[in-house]
Symmetry: C2
Subunit: 218 residues, 2 copies
């Protein structure tokens, strides 16, 4: 498949590029094409050093990156994502959009602050063309651990989405990452539950002197 | 310590009685004292069969059971808990009350339906005397697994409460149950997060053909 990563130069974007590049063509997307190209080169080098053959990682602008791909990974902060997607709307057709987006604020502790639609995923689906299939996943995967290819990620990933075929594709992509285990979380209306776990996990980690917490349902 | 279990004849109540009886005096409380006494006898017999010495398990009414104990476990359904506690209010003084209560409804799927206070734990604290210390925990522990003494419960238990000393007591009680691992979840205001995990876990289990799901933060 062709996978575009919006926010591909960020740490969680790096992890997905490294984990999926051996089977899929990856576009690292950024507003600054130079930065995207530099990151793409670095990721390719890192994989070559490990003896991993890539299908190709290229750097490009957001606009060119998301056109004609199968999957767009939205690994960008909530602040700014809606205006970014409104701007990019003409370049969307029928891609699967994987939302990792979590609206949250920090006072003393982190707090989930969903928009009026109920979750970031529902708001994102509203902004994009109806033919685009939004799937919500990976909110609680540590960027640091994802980018460490030696690490088997022994976590569950709850996947929510209204299009069963798109959800299945994302569950298969999840299976391709060493030890990640996808679980069907139902429709997009359930996304608030997995989004709200993120501030909860961050607070839990801080309170109990832990770090990079993930979840396992056992 | 002296521990009273409201709803002690139910399956989750049974589990706590069996797990704590070797170190603590347990009162099994029920509206029907005969039922409570019968359950207390059965639990004592089950432990004796396994060669476990009890500090004593006795059956009693709710009113006599909760008087003069250190800890009251609220293992009763949300429906009816507030009127029960209003009725029992004169028998409360300064006990620690552990709330396992989850307000939820089932349509096609289970849904968390918190009261206007934000969570069952906050509503319960409002109904009880201020000197009573409500601590929220154990919502996501399987009754079946808890009652199976052969089983090491490899789960995390997030504990929320405003009284640090009471929260510490509950975390220590958690440690006494084989392999359960307590985590500090902050104040009672955070209880909605752990309460809302329960319907989420039930739905997840149904959708993915799993059962008795618990949570581990790793």
């Amino acid at each position: 498949m062709k996978i575009a990563i919006l926010g591909g130069t960020g740490s969680i974007g790096e992890g997905f590029a490294l984990r999926w590049a051996s089977k899929h063509e990856i576009s690292i997307c950024s507003r600054e094409v130079d930065k995207a190209a530099k990151a793409a080169g670095e990721y390719t080098g890192m994989l070559l050093d490990k003896g991993v053959l890539c299908c190709g990682i290229n750097g490009c602008t957001n606009e060119t990156g998301i056109k004609d791909v199968d999957v767009v990974v939205l690994s960008v902060p909530y602040q700014g994502v809606i205006s970014l997607l409104k701007h990019l709307r003409p370049y969307f057709k029928d891609q699967i959009v994987i939302s990792l987006v979590v609206p949250m604020k920090k006072n003393t502790w982190f707090k989930y602050t969903p928009p009026k639609q109920g979750s970031a995923a529902l708001e994102i689906q509203e902004v994009l063309p109806k033919s685009v299939k939004v799937v919500s996943a990976y909110h609680n995967i540590s960027a640091k651990k994802l980018a460490d290819l030696e690490l088997a990620l022994n976590y569950d990933v709850v996947v929510c989405g209204d299009d069963e075929k798109a959800k299945k594709t994302v569950m298969e992509l999840t299976h391709e990452i060493n030890n990640l285990h996808p679980l069907d979380g139902g429709g997009l209306a359930s996304s608030y539950m997995i989004e709200s776990l993120t501030p909860f996990l961050i607070n839990l980690a801080i309170r109990n002197n832990l770090s990079d917490l993930g979840v396992k349902f056992v």
